[in-house]
Symmetry: C2
Subunit: 339 residues, 2 copies
């Protein structure tokens, strides 16, 4: 088995997210979804009648969890940036004051890479009269949970704040060759969840029971090879390259948005499905996105940009490009009305 | 991606379990537990107020699922063999006639390798007045789901019978180097479960969302390299070697049991925890088990037997070995009273 590597990886993340070795419990999951399923289940076990609040731009696994776990779920509106709208959150909390709150906070939404303002979420909860023993926060850090700590001006994800769990994917920024993730929660919470499973001579508090033994080795190796400074450099490179992509798109007259703490560039959905497939672009409605990871170089971005601009000139010979102001804000839209 | 391999593996299992290509839906899971979580969730979505019935020797993931999904769960007694006790099942069904039944049927229990009698379970349901639109059967074939089809006298797991889903592990008998499994259900059921997830351009009906891309390749390779006949031979070898182990244990005066359709040998728990750890024996109460897989040769069994017999002679110099008749039946017990 590779348990010592798993513990090493977890300790690394516990330090990153500021929780003492004896106070945390965690494991290497099979993917980001398992982290969300786990965090939300821990929240439900802590507050069996709690209501799950999540912004509508949360990952679909959050809503899947609500359905699986038979939890009441309230969708909260988002700002144009993709962040949770705390005014709407406040209104919905006040309408449900009688029940504890379980909140999914996005550290990087799937589509726009938006980072919910954790501090404002906590302030909103407390402002609505939810004391710390009446709410549970799960931070879905699928992608940016690992990048954010290396961005100086980013709000901090830390167990010094009243959060219950954080999860992050291991096959994205860290580049593990199989889907995996890291899930960390407080020891006090997990005791509610685990049950004795004698034949394994251990208490199972995971979702999946079985774990991939290779994943911790890959994670451990990468964390140690790159180190804290290596990650910091890669994060800077990703953010720089993402800015380059956004600027070049805008310079070519294409609507594009990049959130401040993000390396996810959102832009006008290409009209050619072959182009979308070839570049494996994830699309939603009128927008597509590119997540700029360490493997994406300026050269690769240039190839992409050239191909996009060349193809696009044939898509809009007779008609106008669509307005995507509703998706990315009118200051980012390049349609005839807003450009 | 490795989707074509995944489809190839699923088609192989669909043929094995007798369901037409267009009638089934399935995927390669991350482990046996994910198969159970999926099968039971499908059952719950088909019968939202259904009661989950499972024998008390079912895998713990079944009871974990009941808790996660907030389902009413009724534990059914077992026979000494580890099989579900259909007399008790009948009594419990009759006591809950007003609600549909969701049943976990074990094709090889975790500890004793017992195979629930699927035909008798169906008969019992129908005998209690549960028509086919009032029950859902999930077959947990973690280990033996793949071995059973190759045992001539074994009752058949088949979608020609009124079952809803079957799952099997891929890292046990097939020997895939990472935890994985196969889950197959009826297309008609899964439509209830799936929901549109636009940004992936697909409908997600899995538990985990992400899947390991290597697992289907390993599975496909092994299925094709060994083929149906190769598996049949390996199953015969495992059953033969398991009989050898059981016979040698009994010959050495050690209580031991082997179910007819199984390669899991259950015997008196060794008294030395170092011995247990070194041989990675799974123990429960007074019993331990050895699951005889294709990698376990007669030579390896002899090394194990010699070491066990030699060590055991030092454990019981002054006291008698324990009676394990309650676990494995008095005909299999070798304590002073029963030998």
């Amino acid at each position: 088995h590779s348990r010592q590597f798993e513990v090493g990886v977890l300790d690394w993340f516990a330090r990153l997210w500021e929780i003492e070795k004896n106070d945390y419990w965690g494991y290497i999951t099979n993917c980001g979804t398992e982290g969300n399923l786990h965090g939300i289940l821990v929240g439900r076990e802590v507050f069996p009648d709690g209501i799950l609040y999540a912004s509508r731009e949360s990952h679909y696994s959050v809503f899947k969890a609500a359905r699986m776990y038979r939890m009441e779920c309230v969708k909260v509106d988002t700002l144009i940036s993709g962040e949770i709208d705390c005014a709407d959150f406040r209104a919905k909390l006040l309408a449900n004051k009688s029940k504890p709150a379980i909140i999914n906070v996005n550290i990087g939404t799937t589509v726009k890479g938006a980072v919910d303002d954790l501090d404002l979420v906590i302030q909103t909860l407390e402002g609505c009269g939810f004391s710390r023993d009446r709410f549970y926060i799960h931070c879905d850090g699928a992608l940016f949970g690992l990048m954010m700590p290396f961005v100086k001006r980013a709000p901090k994800v830390s167990f010094k704040k009243p959060i219950g769990s954080v999860s992050v994917s291991g096959h994205k920024f860290v580049g593990c060759p199989m889907p995996c993730g890291v899930q960390i929660t407080r020891m006090e919470h997990v005791n509610a969840l685990s049950s004795n499973v004698e034949y394994l001579a251990s208490r199972d508090a995971t979702i999946m029971g079985s774990r991939n033994g290779h994943a911790p080795i890959f994670l451990w190796y990468t964390l140690n090879r790159k180190g804290y400074n290596g990650f910091a450099k890669e994060v800077q490179k990703c953010l720089r390259n993402a800015h380059y992509l956004k600027d070049q798109l805008r310079a070519a007259g294409i609507g594009a948005m990049l959130n401040e703490l993000s390396s996810t560039v959102v832009f006008e959905r290409p009209r050619d499905e072959d182009f979308v497939r070839r570049w494996q672009l994830a699309c939603e409605g009128n927008i597509a996105h590119v997540v700029v990871m360490p493997s994406v170089s300026i050269e690769k971005l240039d190839v992409f940009l050239n191909e996009l601009v060349k193809n696009r000139s044939t898509w809009y010979q007779e008609k106008q490009p669509p307005c995507i102001a509703a998706d990315i804000g009118k200051e980012n839209c390049a349609c005839p009305l807003h450009k």
